[in-house]
């Protein structure tokens, strides 16, 4: 961070004259913004005015501060990124009421997070630049080019929406309010998500089609029951700093490669695939992972491709464990050398493929599915024949151990070692022993 340089300025405007129509509220709001910046003696180097689209979106061009001119309705997202990267910057968003419709979710979420930016909504109830179409804030019954018979939609209560969702500072008023400069100062210095809903006149369109006036602004507020003044004021931690504090997990270090020791050896003449077909909850995928680590411990290359329904904790769970003597370039084969069918869910997913296997493949399964139709050789193992009942969650690893023992594809000792590691080491090791035993029966 550079040392703070404070440049005192008598005005934050540059030489360009405003481009707005005579009587447009934008001019007076921007004059108040300029006054506020002067009053705050904001460092122009540390102040970013973020705009998006429409007449109000031109605003940043008339200021000597930093500026970001982005896409329709997205100004709050850019402001959030700027603030997150440099929490010490003063970030002021200028958006029209159009932006509160297309970018409503960004407003709500920035308020909810309490990201410390100030949002000035130039609210004139229609889209000026594109020709006077209605917006999310157009009052009911108002005439615009897209509501020629009168607007049937209820206007969005911007202040209420961001206020109940956690904005730190919320004010509503008009471009005619003498305290606008002071309110902008309060918002900018509030160190929270601050929003000013500033009602104003679009002389080119809304005033014309609705015989609208300064007085009508005020009576509309009254009719709608929309309160004015400071509506919400809440002290919550500012997000860009709070996130930095909360996101760090004590004791963790950046993750690098996790090397696996090679203590055994195995050789393969061609790639060998063991596919496990079971159910969610059978820890099929973690069994395959232990198998992959055991293969690496044996000097092989392994890959693991899983298939399970999006709901994760129900239905089938398949894991393909491909083993090879050299780096694996293609892990997509559908022809396992050993297909382990554990449950009806698993069988349902692999039945047709099993039928197509030839005699150089082996199906390893439980007595329940012993009559499966397949060209492969079917071998049956029966967990019920073991002295202890095997928990469902250990079935996958047990079957994998049986498959490794059967195929001799790598030493069972490597599997023993891989299983013994990690949080479930003890029960995993027991499942492996049971599987090895079962395969020997």
């Amino acid at each position: 961070m550079n040392p703070t340089t404070v440049t005192t300025l008598g005005s934050y405007r540059n030489d360009s004259p405003y481009p707005f129509c005579p009587g447009c509220g934008h001019k007076s709001i921007l004059d108040h913004l300029n006054e506020a910046l002067v009053e705050l003696q904001a460092d122009p180097m540390k102040t970013v005015i973020v705009t998006d689209i429409g007449c109000a979106g031109l605003s940043d061009q008339y200021f000597a501060t930093s500026a970001f001119h982005g896409l329709h309705g997205r100004s709050v997202t850019y402001a959030t990124g700027i603030k997150l990267a440099q929490p010490d910057l003063t970030v002021i968003v200028v958006m029209g009421d159009g932006g509160t419709g297309i970018g409503g979710t960004h407003l709500l979420n920035a308020a909810r997070r309490n990201i410390g930016v100030t949002v000035l909504v130039f609210n004139n109830f229609n889209y000026g630049m594109t020709g006077g179409q209605h917006s999310a804030t157009t009052p009911e019954g108002a005439f615009t080019t897209t509501t020629p018979g009168g607007n049937p939609e209820r206007p969005l209560d911007i202040c209420g929406s961001v206020g109940v969702n956690g904005a730190g500072y919320v004010w509503r008023g008009t471009s005619f309010d003498a305290d606008l400069t002071q309110r902008i100062c309060e918002a900018v210095t509030s160190d929270s998500f601050a929003l000013l809903d500033i009602w104003e006149l679009c002389t080119a369109y809304f005033v014309k089609s609705n015989q609208f006036s300064r007085r009508a602004l005020e009576s509309t507020l009254e009719t709608l029951g929309f309160q004015t003044g400071v509506l919400y004021r809440e002290g919550r931690p500012e997000y860009s700093r709070a996130l930095r504090e909360s996101a760090r997990i004590p004791g963790t270090v950046p993750g690098g490669p996790v090397p696996v020791e090679q203590n055994w050896s195995a050789s393969l003449e061609r790639p060998f695939m063991i596919e496990l077909a079971g159910s969610a909850g059978g820890r099929v995928r973690s069994a395959a992972r232990i198998g992959a680590l055991a293969a690496i411990r044996s000097g092989l290359y392994a890959s693991q491709r899983d298939d399970y329904p999006v709901t994760v904790k129900t239905g089938h769970s398949l894991a393909k464990l491909l083993l090879s003597d050299r780096p694996i370039d293609y892990a997509g084969s559908d022809r396992p050398d050993m297909l382990v069918i554990l449950t009806a869910d698993g069988l349902g997913k692999v039945r047709s493929r099993a039928a197509g296997l030839s005699s150089d493949s082996i199906i390893l399964t439980v007595p329940e599915f012993a009559d499966i139709e397949s060209g492969a050789e079917v071998r049956v193992v029966d967990p019920a024949s073991l002295p202890d009942r095997v928990p469902k969650a250990d079935l996958g690893l047990l079957a994998l151990a049986a498959a490794v023992r059967h195929s001799g594809v790598f030493p069972v000792d490597a599997l023993r070692a891989a299983a013994a590691e990690g949080p479930f080491g003890e029960s995993n090791a027991a499942a492996v022993e049971a599987g090895i035993r079962l395969a020997g029966l």
Binding site: T80, I82, P257
Partner: protein, 372 residues
Amino acid sequence: MRELTDGSTAIVRGAVDAGCDFFAGYPITPASQILTGMSREMPLVGGVAIQGEDEISSIGMCIGATMAGARAMTATSGPGISLYSENIGMAIIGEVPLVIIDVQRLGPSTGGATTAAQGDVQFVRWGTGGGYPIIALAPSSVPECYTLTMKAFDLAERFRCPVFVLTDKELNLTATTVDIDAYEKVPVRPRSRMAPGESAGAPYSYQPPDAVGPIATYGDDTPVRFTGSTHDERAFITKDPQTVGALNEHLVAKIENHQDEIDMVVADIDPGADTALLSYGITAGSMREAVRVARAGGRPVSALTIQSLWPVPEPAILGLLESHERVIVGELNHGQYRREIERLAARKTDVVGVHRTDGTLITPQDFLEALS
């Protein structure tokens, strides 16, 4: 030493080693592991990771953060790139260095969330209004996920533009064994920033058209303007035809005049071969396997893996087309990149496609059948 890992993990590591310090993303299969990985890693290296309220906000935050000095990355899949579209254009015109990971899944629409595809190849190239160039890299293995992510950060800085890393569900979610030595670190150039006192009043320069000027960052010692509209060198909106023309010429020339700095292919040429295989991404793995099998069977064959999909590495492809009678292009779509090869072949070389859009991978056997 070896490890068991996947493409998502390698991309996260590549980003960290490239100096990435800002990540924003929205959950989507099969890219979510990058979001969760970056959420874990960023705070550990002094950076920030945030889950945006949607894809639009995620890329928007990345662009804002970059202008405030961060080195940013985001990750999504095809449906998310659809939502990124408008902001991709803004990153192009505003000349924002940004890395976008697209973990492809089967489309269109929601398509198949956990289904393999390479369907976004033309989409990332033309995925925003105006038709201006982007850079896209495509890793074909887990170690390349690491290396090409680093390379993407480097190219983003070099050309001040969004750079895509186009990967896919298979590469990102399949755990595989990697020799730890295979992770090749590439140098990532530091951001070219305007020196203190240098006029940041002109954060964009178009002369000569292919020159890329240094970036001025918010919070530096001078006010900085950024705009997503057609602008002059000081970032003020303009319609002056000469200025507008110069800007748009610059956006093209800065990339197209420097293709030699971007082009990346892996050529495995057999001088005795009449046929060459060409592929990229996950399908290049199947291609390599097919080449091994063909050669073991005594069939000479060449292979070209395209690592830099966009801009099209034309010299290498033209060389391949000239020295072979037939080029077989394999990809998990209806021939999106084959179009580029056919364009270069100009009907002089036979171009054959091997394509799948059924959610399964192109097999080595598919390549071998096309070969025979």
